[in-house]
């Protein structure tokens, strides 16, 4: 009789983990598969992209067909959003190829171009297109809304508010109030804005779409987070998740709240199916950091994230600088690198999360937080996490 070491299932899993996780890390070494039946790649499922095959074939036959091209581009953009998969943005842009480089493409193309440009953080170019659209078509609600969103992300609140104001006669009450309340909540009118938005949502609950509700609930949850009302925030995140469990922005924001409350197991549960999305894989790694004994798994995830950021760097992408700064600060423990990234990111966008990572990096790196501290003063940002960092920076100075 042979003696075999009997392992409990959980211990076996633990032993297997490093092997399973290191497989993708042994990257880019070419190999010859051993068997013909071996599944090498699983194509993006759900049939989302496949449904578009017919449209794509039709467009290939008539690439100049504007209606066909814009409709395909719109559907690819929707797919890019729902799957958080940037490849579809490239497909959308390709569908618009005949008009893409024109100085003044048809209005529909211009709107889609602005959408694609802002999703790759080319905010200047996007704003140029949006300004052109509203100059020609002042009734274009989508253009005003996208313009307000881009300006809000850039922290240009006065201009953003003006854009929102134009929406009031063009879009539903909920949309225009959401637009304005979001800005207000970031610029010195937090309490009032949150109440206004909450009331407006309750009033319009019967007429709104789930997508819009998820958007509003996410913003409301973030507002509650900023004033330190974690349980209210959590309720709202949960309500939003019930409507759309796969919204990656929502998942990220909720995960951050849970991370702040040191509830890592819930974070892992929340995001573990979304490891394809860099921002959510980052949250997963940050959660593991709070769990004792997850060293091997954490190391593998850190390596994976590092590979992904390197891949983005190689192609010259800067879309993930905020996440990368967090990665450098918290997982690589490299505050100087984190601060450099946070500064670059700050030049592009100025959301509350951008403020926070900048201050955190500056605090650890003992670097200069002056520009952001000034900005907090002038913008009137109210955020308990940010306030705490400001106090720490002042105490250290």
């Amino acid at each position: 009789m042979t003696h075999s070491i009997i392992l409990s299932p959980s211990v076996r899993l633990w032993l297997l983990l490093p092997l399973l996780l290191l497989a993708p890390a042994a990257q880019a070494t070419p190999y010859l598969p051993t068997s013909g039946d071996q599944v090498i790649e699983v194509l993006p499922g759900g049939g989302g992209a496949r449904q578009l095959e017919r449209l794509r074939t039709a467009l290939r036959a008539q690439p100049q067909d504007l209606a066909l091209a814009t409709s395909l581009a719109r559907r690819y953009i929707a797919l890019a959003r729902s799957d958080t998969d940037p490849r579809y943005l490239g497909y959308a842009q390709a569908a618009l190829q005949p008009w893409w480089a024109l100085a003044a493409p048809p209005l529909e193309v211009r709107m889609l171009r602005a959408t694609l440009l802002q999703s790759t953080h080319h905010f200047d170019a996007a704003l140029k297109d949006l300004d052109a659209i509203i100059a020609i078509a002042p009734q274009h609600a989508q253009a005003w809304l996208t313009r307000a969103t881009v300006l809000t992300v850039r922290g240009e609140y006065a201009k953003a508010s003006a854009s929102c104001a134009r929406l009031s006669s063009l879009a539903s009450e909920l949309i225009s109030i959401t637009c304005i309340a979001n800005i207000g909540s970031l610029s010195g009118r937090a309490a009032h804005s949150e109440q206004l938005l909450e009331k407006t949502l309750q009033r319009s609950a019967s007429v709104t779409t789930p997508e819009l509700q998820v958007w509003v609930l996410t913003l409301l949850a973030e507002m509650a987070t900023r004033r330190g009302a974690a349980s209210v925030a959590e309720e709202r995140f949960q309500a939003a998740l019930a409507l759309d469990p796969n919204d990656s922005y929502l998942l990220g924001a909720y995960a951050d709240l849970l991370l702040d409350q040191e509830r890592p197991l819930e974070v892992v549960k929340l995001v573990k199916e979304h490891a394809r999305i860099d921002a959510l894989l980052l949250r997963q790694a940050l959660a593991l950091q709070q769990i004792p004994g997850s060293g091997v798994t954490l190391a593998a995830l850190t390596k994976e994230l590092s590979d992904r950021f390197n891949a983005a760097l190689q192609r010259g992408d800067t879309v993930h600088q905020r996440e990368q700064a967090r990665f450098e600060l918290q997982l690589h423990n490299a505050p100087k690198a984190a601060l450099a990234l946070a500064q670059k990111n700050w030049a592009v966008q100025k959301e509350a999360a951008d403020v926070r990572i900048y201050l955190e990096a500056a605090l650890k790196a003992k670097g200069d937080a002056g520009p952001v501290l000034n900005w907090i003063k002038t913008s009137g940002l109210e955020d308990v996490a940010v306030n705490k960092l400001v106090q720490q920076l002042k105490a250290g100075a």
Partner: protein, 378 residues
């Protein structure tokens, strides 16, 4: 601090974390990774292209189940090679390189499995400027990028291709303008240092600088000697710079045997002048005339080194500067010493017997060079 997760039994934790080991492939924009190793006329290529992108372009999933097996991929190898290589052009100044597809493997990148296409390219001449045309997926995915890495000897260069930047020329022998400049400065210094004929010519002309031309008595002021040296050196420099530049930038060239013989002759004359005054106050003019000949000598050295086409002017200037630096170093040592020793017995001996020795040596060179024979060992 109270940590809530400690309440979870460890088995739950293990199971929860166990689920993380599912393949975590990133969602990222499309890239391909093209590695080119250049050796003379041949290029070995390895091109990693995402299977997902290839499926989108040419359809690899024959049974439409969303899962690509090795058999499905393998059966499309010819299509993949044909599709990809049609969208890549490699060329040198002399024309296109002929590309032959090799084996295909699989590699794992952050966003999934890639087909690894190996190929060989034969170019019409040794590659020093590689022109790459990259159009893979340009019509399908406007945000696709080709990340190209070129290895050539110890150097690696990289380039990013996109539909907007589909055509790029990459210089392979490109050590950078500044280091190239520096290298030519060193060549210049080195050449004057090992060029005894140039040094002896200059020294022969400079020996009388610490004496008064009209009388042959030691000069009274360092200033007068300094200006004398300055005039001679400037004339020499000006002259050889002119011919060096002319000869390097134009097809103008004289037979090197003639030049080398004339240089030897110039040394003989310069040394003779110290024994039998021939030029007296016209030493700067003599320095200029013979400087023209020495310039041709420098030019032939530079021609042997080869001037890089893309950095012609800067290399020429660097070489010239190097020659001047070497020359000034010699002068900087010579002048103070000569001035201090000008009244000594030794200096008189150096001027006459030393010059005679130089004459003798240069005469041997002259005969050797003029008749292409060897009189001295070495």
């Amino acid at each position: 601090m109270m940590r809530r997760f400690l309440r979870f039994p460890s088995i739950v934790l293990a199971l929860l974390l166990g689920c993380l080991s599912l393949p975590a492939q990133a969602h990222k924009p499309s890239d391909s990774y093209l590695k080119l190793s250049v050796a003379e006329q041949t290029i070995a290529g390895q091109w990693d292209i995402a299977l997902r992108d290839l499926d989108y372009a040419i359809g690899l999933d024959r049974n439409g189940d969303g899962r690509l097996t090795w058999d499905e991929i393998r059966s499309h190898h010819q299509d993949i090679a044909g599709y990809a290589l049609q969208r890549l052009t490699l060329a040198t100044g002399a024309g296109a390189c002929a590309v032959t597809a090799g084996e295909q493997l699989i590699a794992q990148h952050t966003d999934g499995a890639y087909s690894v296409l190996r190929f060989q390219a034969h170019c019409p001449d040794p590659v020093d400027m590689l022109e790459i045309g990259y159009r893979l997926f340009a019509d399908l995915d406007a945000q696709h990028k080709g990340l190209v890495q070129i290895q050539h000897g110890d150097n690696t260069s990289t380039a990013i291709f996109s539909p907007e930047q589909a055509q790029q020329s990459i210089a392979l022998r490109n050590p950078g303008k500044l280091s190239q400049f520096g290298a030519y400065v060193l060549h210049g210094i080195w050449h004057i240092w090992i060029g005894f004929d140039h040094i002896l010519f200059l020294l022969s002309l400079l020996l009388p600088a610490v004496l008064v031309a009209a009388t042959g008595h030691p000069s009274e002021s360092l200033k007068a000697s300094f200006f004398d040296v300055l005039k001679v050196v400037t004339a020499f420099t000006l002259a050889h710079s002119i011919t060096l530049t002319l000869a390097s930038l134009s097809p103008l060239s004289l037979p090197s045997r003639t030049i080398e013989s004339l240089i030897a002759a110039s040394v003989v004359l310069a040394a003779l002048n110290n024994i039998v005054p021939l030029f007296r106050g016209r030493r700067p003019s003599v320095a200029f005339v013979f400087g023209l000949i020495h310039g041709f000598g420098f030019a032939s050295v530079l021609a042997d080194l080869g001037l890089p086409r893309d950095a012609l002017a800067i290399s020429l200037f660097g070489f010239n500067l190097g020659v001047e630096i070497g020359q000034l170093a010699i002068v900087a040592v010579f002048l103070p010493l000569a001035f201090l020793l000008r009244r000594s017995w030794f200096y008189g001996q150096l001027l006459t017997k030393g010059s005679a020795l130089i004459m003798l040596l240069a005469s041997v060179w002259l005969v050797e060079r003029a008749f292409d024979i060897r009189l001295m060992p070495v």
